[in-house]
């Protein structure tokens, strides 16, 4: 039964992936991709990766989908010109040939993976008690491989600086994105008033529960960012100008707190990013708590894009 379900799921995933590649219109392709993302979430559940499933649903499918669908709408006029540019049949066949070859080689690789599979799960289980958290993935992300998580926040920040750097000079310091005009009495404005309190509570809950159960700061921050975007889309609040000092401080607060706690670890626990025994869990929660607003802002601002309006209020 479970096998049949998995095979059906894999078939649907492949079909949607193919659709998102070959569909004629970009908009339709992105819609296929969003459905693809939702089904991937199910696949992650089948692979016993609940945390990954949450991340995939929030970021992989949700935010990426929203980003691409916005771009597809704006670029609709360019598609006809691009279609003409497409390569001829020989190139297509060649491309199909090499792609199939890669797939075949990888399939052989998948079947040739060693049995028993190497795993670090016992190592994690042996050391998780020291960190005080109950969710092994949180332990990996914030204790054993905390550096990766710090770098991940820095990646997001650099990408945001990159996005901002694409503003025309005259709009530097101004508000990102275009002004949203929505009917103040319309249903969107209604939802944007009703939903955010629920969404914010759910976001905080996902973050809080992440220490011991699936969930965590990223998934929570994505939900909060989505609520913020909803409020902006409904025209109830505007995106802040990027020159605002409070915005800049919030953007760097998460990584800076992370680094500061790491540096304290050099003194108290003999290593950067080490936690003194006994207070590991509170420190991990402080880091996650500091990262939440930073991540929410970065994720939201990335979707809004580069500054496109003058710096004057």
């Amino acid at each position: 039964m479970s096998d049949a379900l998995n095979i059906g799921l894999a078939g649907l995933i492949l079909g949607l992936a193919l659709w998102s590649i070959v569909a004629r219109e970009a908009f339709a392709a992105v819609e296929g991709f969003m459905a693809f993302g939702l089904l991937l979430t199910l696949a992650w559940v089948q692979l016993h990766g609940i945390d990954v499933a949450l991340t995939e649903a929030a970021i992989g499918g949700g935010l990426t989908g929203a980003l691409l669908i916005g771009a597809a709408t704006r670029l609709r006029s360019t598609e006809a010109a691009a279609r003409v540019e497409g390569p001829g049949a020989p190139t297509r066949w060649l491309a199909a040939g090499v792609s199939v070859a890669v797939t075949a080689a990888l399939a052989v690789g998948v079947l040739a993976l060693p049995v028993p599979a190497p795993t670090l799960a016992p190592d994690v289980a042996a050391h998780i008690a020291v960190t005080g958290v109950g969710n092994p993935i949180t332990a990996v992300l914030l204790a054993f491989r905390a550096m990766d998580t710090l770098l991940e926040a820095i990646v997001l920040l650099f990408a945001l600086i990159g996005v901002w750097s694409l503003a025309p000079d005259r709009f530097w310091g101004g508000r990102p994105g275009l002004r949203q005009q929505a009917d103040p009495n319309g249903i969107l404005a209604y939802v944007a008033r009703v939903l955010p309190p629920i969404g914010v509570i759910a976001g905080i809950y996902i973050f809080w529960v992440g220490a011991d159960h699936p969930g965590g700061k990223f998934q929570g921050a994505t939900l909060m960012a989505a609520m913020w975007l909803l409020v902006m889309m409904a025209g109830l609040a505007d995106a802040p100008p990027i020159s605002r000092t409070w915005l800049r401080i919030l953007l760097v607060a998460g990584p800076l707190v992370f680094i500061a706690i790491g540096v304290v670890g050099v003194v108290t626990a003999d290593a950067f990013l080490a936690y003194p025994p006994g207070i590991a869990k509170p420190l991990i929660l402080v880091i996650e708590f500091a990262l939440m607003p930073t991540l929410t802002l970065i994720l939201g601002l990335m979707l809004v894009g580069a500054p496109q309006r003058g710096p004057l209020p």
């Binding site: 190497p118 204790a143 990646v155 290593a271 950067f272």
Partner: protein, 576 residues
Amino acid sequence: MLTTPGGTLLVMAVLVPFVGVLLGLTLGGRHVWRVAAVTVLAGLAIVASLASMLLQSGDTVVYLLGGWAPPLGIALRADSLSVVMMLAVAVVICGIGLYARSDFGSVAGAAEARAPFTFWLLLLAVWGSLNLVFVSGDLFTLYVALELVTFSGVPLVCLDGRGETLRAALRYLLFALAGSLLYLLGAVLLYGAYGTLDIALLAERIRPEPIAWSVAALMTVGLLAKTALFPLHLWLPPAHAGAPAAASAVLSALVIKGSWFLVVRLWFDVMPGVVTLSAAQLLAGLGAAAIVVGSVVALRQERLKLLVAYSTIAQIGYLFLMFPLAFDAGGSALVHGPALTGGLLQAVSHATAKAAMFMAAGLVYAALGHDRIADLAGVARAMPITILAFALAGLALMGVVPSGAYLAKKLMLDAAASSGQWWWEGVLQGGAVFTAAYVVLVLTHVMRRPRGPAQPLKRVSRLSEFAALFLGLCSLLLAFAALGPLPGDLVKNPLAPGELGTTLLVFLGGTLLALGLSPQPLLAATRGGPLRRTMTRAGIAFEHSDGFVRRWPSASIALLTLAALFGWLLLARPLP
């Protein structure tokens, strides 16, 4: 495995530039460049003390992050390879910082402007990310580091926001992303097969078997795409030529070295026994092709910055020549030895020299308002320091004594001779001749007397000129710095008959190539000669083939085909 004394310096080398970015972003406005200046000084001090420590002890410096040992945790490691690269990057960043002071310095009282603000932040971002590439001991952290380098490099390409540079940046980003996915795919398979991503542990566990071969092939081509080795260089010329000069210097001198360094790490330290001599020959063969195509197309360019950008493609090729020369006597495994030292020296001298060249080209552009090579007459007289910087960098790249490239060439020639791979000796010498050709070409034009009245020149900053000169000098005098750890008899008297003869031959060959291939005839006498006509035709053919290779479908199909080819060459290993 434990943290060694001084390991904290590794963390600092990565974090200090990153903290600089964070502080710069918060303080904003006019403070950004001050933050950058302080950070550069601090970073330089950190790297210098790390280098002096390593020079004394000679042991690899290790730092266990969070106190967790691999495979569960992440280790930072710095051996002499990493420290040399870190030192070179620190010096070049310093030079670029000085150079960019006039373009991107702050004006008192002015509001925060986009280009300076992002330039300084991205400069620090590139630096921290590169240091992470050099010291990280974990393949996944290295993936994140590579992406950090890309994300901070791409916006530098389109700093001036013109359409063509935006297009170049997008091409660069998309192709680099394809490359990093292949790298990540390899890392994923490695974890599946060996249960760790730590470089030292992998080196112990990895066996010559199909999964390791496919991993080697995938990761190598992924990194080659990011390094822009021919034929995967579609993104490089427009990106490096279109960016502002300071940004071009960062991109061409430093950014591509990150992924190149990872190829070296992968081949020499992760899987020295998995890779084969035939695969290394392919790698060096691509390098040789890059030298020929890159140099010929460089000679055909009409704009100085494009010439320098294409010369980068040729020089990237040079960096891959060491691979087949670094095998042990039986040809079964890669070893750290003179050939690797040579390759490293070549990378360092290219970093300093190419930064100096782009800076000089940028200054010429700033002074004249254009960089058409044919219209550069009289520039040498008007801007002697700039042209001197260009000439010194060119001499250094050619491998004239006592440059680093000279030592590099020497070490690699010896390795080629001792392993009986005579054909690489030819390529090594030929590469120098090609380099000489475009240096001669540019110098001939700038030394000419202008025909009409002297063109009005805009004043350029003295500081920028001296920064370029400083990096050019660094490159030319690199051999002396390298001689500390290397045996002293490697550098010969430059005026000894043998050395002088080689230098003259290189110049002569270069001049002939320049005469034959330049778009405008260099001397009136050569106009219309049969040889010149043939060579011009050949040059145009090269340009066309370069144009074909740089189309997206051909480049991306080449990417996957190369992966297959590498996989096959690793599979078809000679029986022990």
